[in-house]
Amino acid sequence: MTSRTGLRIALAAALLLAVLAAGCGGGGSQDELVVGEFGSLTGNEATFGTSTKDGVGAAMADLQASAGGKIGGLPVRVVVEDDQSKPEEAATVVQKLINQDRVISVIGEVASSRSLAAAPICQSASVPMISPSSTNPRVTQVGDYIFRMCFLDQFQGTVMARFAAQTLKLKKVAVLKDSKSDYSVGLAQFFTEAFTGLGGSIVTEQAYQSGDNDFRAQLTAIKGKKPDAIIVPGYYTEVGLIARQARELGLKQPLIGGDGWESEKLIEIGGDALNGCYYANHWALDAPDPKLQAFLKAYRDQFKGDPDAIGGLAYDAANVLFGALEKLYAQDPQAFKGLSSSRAGSAARTDAEKKLRDLIAATTNYGGVTGTITLDQNRNASKPAVVIEIKDGKKIFNSSFNP
């Protein structure tokens, strides 16, 4: 046997070991409730995944404090997976969570593209999936096991248009959207429809791509059209830079945006350039809601920083799930047992999943930290949106819009 052959045998053995290691994923020894959470912990949108994970972590900490981490006598365990910001990876990890870890429910994802990749798998496996903040309408259309905790971009666009036309009394605006993000493109479209419906006009529509650093070309074109305001329905990472460069180019108009602006880094990146700007959001951190303030305090203690809206929505998603689990245990303890990890794959499990789904769908007037949540018949959250104003480097609550 030559050394070459030996090398090949060693490599084949390593390959085999790798396969076996992948196989030994599931199978805990004690009965527990296994919940899956997936997000982009690495890759382009790594902050989304981290926020989701922390939000769910905060909900788990609450559960630990209030009930020793158990529901119905069974301990709750959250399995977190990373989808590397890639849609096909999202499908793979959800498949793994369902088949290897035998989760009873999945929380995720933030980006609509990855939710769309994962949702069909959850639907066909009859595992409820709760997306904290995917705003593309198609996500919940995949099936009746798919839910979302946030409002749709249609509503958000209307809110922004109402604010611009009625509150700020603007007549003509420019739109600067992120063409690489389905969220931004959709939001820009809904805003435009609503704004023109209210009598306003769009003087120009420009686009950039998330990841861009330089927007001077687009801003120079906008400057020439002299709008009353610039609508920027993108993510905070670019918005801060856009504001800076706009001011450098001599543009003094206010910028208006959506919940993609929401991040503790927004002011850090944008600085003084953001004063006098507004954005629609799920919550306002300075609102006097006691539940919100309690959550903020606990979050700051646990994670040493402020949560963003994604974290807040993930927290609410986890709590809605826990609430539904508790209700199921209270209403039908026999069926509830079907959710324990030892019953995975049985008819009892399928039956319990259906009952769980029904309870989640019946969520009405749930007081979450991101607002009062009621899931409508399309399993989307019907809740008010707030408009945040940035003044002297601080985010303050401006107004609230009901659906």
Binding site: L15, V19, A22, L41, E88, S113, A117, D182
Partner: protein
């Protein structure tokens, strides 16, 4: 006659496996198996271009993307119509879908092959590094174009592709690409490709039509990459331009290089290894990419020939026959 029997038996075995495997493997493992198959098709097809012919092509994901999107568009707009029509005529659903899938895959492969032709052309004037960058640029241009065309979903992605791909078709594609590569390798065409790889000027001087063969390598390689893309589209049922970035091209190159440039069996082994490895390393998420890149560097420094060098696993030797002449 013998060949027909072998072909029929193989197809029968594949169909049987297609029915049996889901009973033994849960959907997660099935998924890994399917992804391995698609990776094998990608790696072996790239091996034709990089390994056999020595052309630096680092934009393979672009061909995959073309195949994926064109086959998906066909299926979504025309294919489903055909399936309904065939079913109305009494054909069983599986057969109708299979027929539509075959047409979709072939279309995707063809579209990618056309692109391969146009990418192969500059190879006439460009060598080595320049060709590499042009192929990279081509891959990026494809991705940017897809991100801008609304009809294919642009940056929002393309959901709702009919999920017609199953184990049978992935395995068939693997057999096809490996078979074609083996036939080429053992023919005079293959020898021409190897000659170009080893010393292009000498090959030209000896009368080898380097132009024709270089372009041919690109066309065949990109055809199969397009098929792999079509299978990818019809398995995931959802396409997004982010799946076809430069990083994807690098992953395919890593498979070919790890396996050994020019070795088909090497590409197969490496493709499987590099598809399964990330799953096994799930626990070490953040380190995964760092390990990956270190592996590439160390490999290039210590064993640039890869696992197999340019040799193949000769199945005949296992059965006691003489090894085939080099």
């Amino acid at each position: 006659m013998k060949r027909l029997i072998v072909a029929a038996v193989t197809l029968g075995a594949l169909a049987g496996l297609d029915l049996l495997l889901p009973r033994f493997l849960n959907p997660y493992f099935m998924r890994i198996l399917m992804l391995c198959g698609i990776s094998i098709v990608l790696a072996v097809s790239l091996n034709l271009i990089n390994g056999f012919t020595g052309q630096f092509s680092i934009g393979h994901a672009g061909f995959m993307a073309i195949g994926a999107y064109s086959s998906a568009m066909f299926s979504m707009h025309i294919g489903v119509g055909w399936v309904s029509a065939l079913e109305a005529l009494g054909a069983p659903q599986g057969l109708a879908q299979a027929a539509a899938l075959v047409v979709a895959l072939l279309l995707g492969g063809l579209a990618a092959a056309v692109a391969g032709y146009f990418v192969g052309l500059p190879s006439l004037r460009l060598r080595g590094d320049y060709l590499a960058i042009v192929t990279l640029g081509f891959g990026e241009i494809i991705r940017v174009i897809i991100t801008n065309v609304d009809a294919v979903g642009a940056a929002r992605g393309l959901p709702g592709i009919p999920q017609w791909a199953n184990f049978f078709w992935v395995a068939a594609a693997v057999i096809a690409v490996v078979g074609v590569s083996l036939r080429i390798a053992n023919s005079s065409h293959g020898r021409a490709l190897f000659a170009i790889r080893d010393d292009e000027v000498a090959a030209e001087a000896l009368g080898v039509d380097t132009t024709r063969y270089k372009v041919l390598a690109f066309v065949i390689g990109s055809f199969f990459a397009g098929i792999a893309g079509g299978l990818f589209a019809h398995y995931n049922a959802y396409l997004h331009p982010n799946s076809f970035t430069f990083l994807k091209s690098i992953e395919i190159i890593a498979m070919v290089v790890l396996g050994g440039l020019g070795s088909i069996s090497g590409s197969i082994l490496a493709a499987v290894f590099l598809t399964v490895l990330p799953e096994a390393l799930r626990s070490a998420q953040e380190l995964r990419m760092v390990i990956y890149s270190l592996m590439i560097i160390v490999l290039m420094i210590t064993r640039p020939g890869g696992l197999m060098g340019s040799r193949e696993i000769d199945v005949r030797r296992w059965f006691g026959r003489r090894a085939r002449p080099a």
